[in-house]
Symmetry: D2
Subunit: 262 residues, 4 copies
């Protein structure tokens, strides 16, 4: 039986220094807890609510930073691709390719990612029912790539709110794919009239605990040394200094539910 695994990092690659600093600390924590952890950060925020928001360093520079993160921290790295023609370059550096939630139905993108042979983490759209993930995974599986992960990040619940249906984690798990719970995007309050998504980080730990108890195999968290100054998703990011305690608690719940580390 696998252990609970983690995906963590700052929302966007604000700078090489930030990425390396966060990765170093995460590697330390993961090593201390004996837990698998992948470093995640975006090179491009291609769908920010507002035009004025920071988008990131772009593909080329972003991949160079992630390569450095990988080498210096020893952590595997994961990032998201937004167009089919990014997949091959991204796969040169990344250990796992991620498909953004809004793009989870774009056939060409899923297949380009699948054809790289790297594991593909498909984020379930805010408009996709948990019992409908089969066809999403299928688009990758058909390329011959059997390594598909599925991520829950909340479902549209009225306006400017998302809800996590914990039944969905069990249902998604029936696909046979590892199921990741995205604990920080799930507490987003999408858009909002100010042209920028809000969030409520108070509930990150609440939902992460519940998701692991409900059967998630992995947990994703945006972390930042100083969320209030983050260039992206600050309101829902977890402060870096709270990560270790939460990971420890989640590991304990996972082991309790799944019958030990084996």
């Amino acid at each position: 039986r696998r252990r609970l695994f983690f995906i963590a990092g700052p929302c966007v690659l604000e700078s090489r220094d930030l990425a390396l600093g966060v990765a170093e600390r995460l590697a330390e924590v993961a090593h201390g807890l004996g837990a698998p952890l992948l470093f995640k950060s975006s090179f491009d925020k291609a769908n920010r609510t507002s035009l004025g928001s920071f988008r990131g360093p772009g593909l080329d520079q972003g991949l160079r930073i992630l390569e450095d993160v990988r080498r210096q921290s020893g952590l595997p790295v994961i990032s998201d691709v937004h167009a089919p023609d990014q997949a091959a370059a991204a796969a040169q550096v990344l250990d796992v390719l991620q498909i953004p939630a809004f793009l989870c139905r774009q056939t060409d993108l899923l297949q380009a990612a699948g054809r790289t042979g790297k594991p593909v983490n498909v984020k379930k759209g805010q408009f996709v029912a948990p019992h409908d993930v089969g066809p999403l995974a299928q688009k990758v599986l058909e390329t011959g790539n059997r390594d598909v992960w599925l991520t829950e990040r909340g479902f549209s619940f009225g306006y400017n709110n998302l809800v996590v249906d914990m039944r969905g984690l069990a249902i998604m798990g029936q696909s046979g794919c590892p199921v990741v719970f995205d604990a920080t995007h799930s507490v987003q309050l999408p858009s909002g009239q100010g042209g920028c998504s809000g969030g409520d980080r108070r509930f990150v730990a609440t939902l992460a605990r519940a998701a692991v108890a409900a059967g998630a195999h992995g947990v994703f968290m945006e972390v930042h040394p100083n969320p209030d100054q983050a260039l992206c998703d600050g309101p829902n990011s977890l402060p870096l200094d709270q990560v270790e305690a939460l990971m420890k608690q989640l590991l304990a719940i996972y082991e309790l539910i799944n019958g030990g580390e084996a």
Copy 2:
């Protein structure tokens, strides 16, 4: 620190024998696990979807059965009241009065229950946001009764479905009232075209584990020795022989989250 407590029993008082039999087994389990448990069963299902459905033995006979349950099993008993004029009689027998979810806004009912001095468990309506439970509790508190419990049983999520927002348990807990998670009604699929609510008991354990991990203080479960023959809520009832294992797991999660039994 309180221990996790349980409320359990058959949906409706089908017969004196069934009630006593279930209560005896629940008392045994609760005693074995050292967990507080209240016996719950309804004397009247006053809002069944369909006219043809079994409603129960009514107030008088129902209270007599519950009195016997209480005496023979040693378990405290809780049941729901549907009209202000039922409160006083019910309070003669019951340890806790419960307000049905559809009736959670009926001022006179909440106040009649409050005035009995017995603890009042208010089920949050499928149309009430977790941050709006304050005014529900207030209607009881104003009678001078300080012992209000709040129960989450899912929120309307599109047609014929409910969703449990685990953030809501944390939010409801900020009221200072004990928060109960109703694990079996939360998996109901309301109404449906056949004139009878369905449900999916596969998710009772999933949601109960998640709710305890998210911060619930108590868990409610409808149980039945043979759910497929239950006269009410069979599809979402937990088989009696699965109760002990689930309670054990929930107690372990609760202790893990809340720092031991104290």
Copy 3:
């Protein structure tokens, strides 16, 4: 073919004078437009969000006022009943009995109303799908009373919001019952953290026009000479001086859709 009919009046019977004044004006408008109109006002707001809110004059005094309204204005009157034991007295005065949305599943109330022989207007709960109104109507029909009306007043849509699914009016119409659209409660923003429901009267006309175009047979509107001073539902009430223009437009849409007045 019937003409479009209206139900209108102040949310609650604030005073005898207010009721008579509004009724007189409504009778004038209805007469001028040749449209059937019933006067509606509540004698008791039994489920106000907050304890401090005005509840109304109660059953006895309320019915006396409604009797005067009926006599002086010549308008038929409709009001809501909240308990089975109110039905007989209410039926002495009222032309139509109304079942509040939260109570639409309470079997005894529906049957007590049905047994009076008066038409019964059942408001569909915020948690009831349009294809599930059959069992609601059935509880009245089984008493031998064939005169059931069904009212749409919005469905829970996330927290503190309601949405009107216009498909639902067509679906509810398949029951054979007249379908009323409640244009002012449908724009309510339930509860909200201040302990009092808000609303947005800007959308009353938008939704009423859409509902008639979608197939509603009747339209309900709370009206008030001065909504900002109303003791109940002010934020979603229509100013009395805007009623005539809206009714005129709705009648025109109805005739256009339904092929003339016949």
Copy 4:
């Protein structure tokens, strides 16, 4: 004051013959009713639920067919683009470029479409609140292109269902952009367990009438001579021979609401 305008055509360019045949009939109807109408059909369905579904002829061949439709029918043509690098070629042929709903937040796509100078019709995502369309439009407006249209096609409402909030049309109209109601995608039942979206064309007319009454400036409808044999979206397509009667009724409602053709 503009007249109500229409966008119609088969979901996907199944064949040159089908496109030309449908366009000829639509041109005839539009001419007879004196109503502006654009022909719409997709050259690529880039996000079909299932891999096995028909995707269309692709960009090059699709644009050639649309060019022929334009020339032979005299109708302006509109189609959707899925990647920034499609915008320039599409703008050589199309009168209006459309942004698919799932892609409505992809900054680069919106800006590429905007830079062509052609009008851009942005479909509001199933996860975007009507009061949040401002930032969507802004991404196009910032390119200097002032001709942005906004289309409502339903919002996620529980699983496998969409709801149209008619208030949203009024809210979207406050942006100053023309608001189109997509009457056929709004009755889709997304995904569903069979790996293919369903739909219910019974409600196309119901919703279209309601939307025009609520303030829509344009109506989009997928039409097909034989919906049951359509290669895409058959369940929610309108039969071609029903288009004229519906358009006529919608024009009458529009004129009634907006005070004549002027």
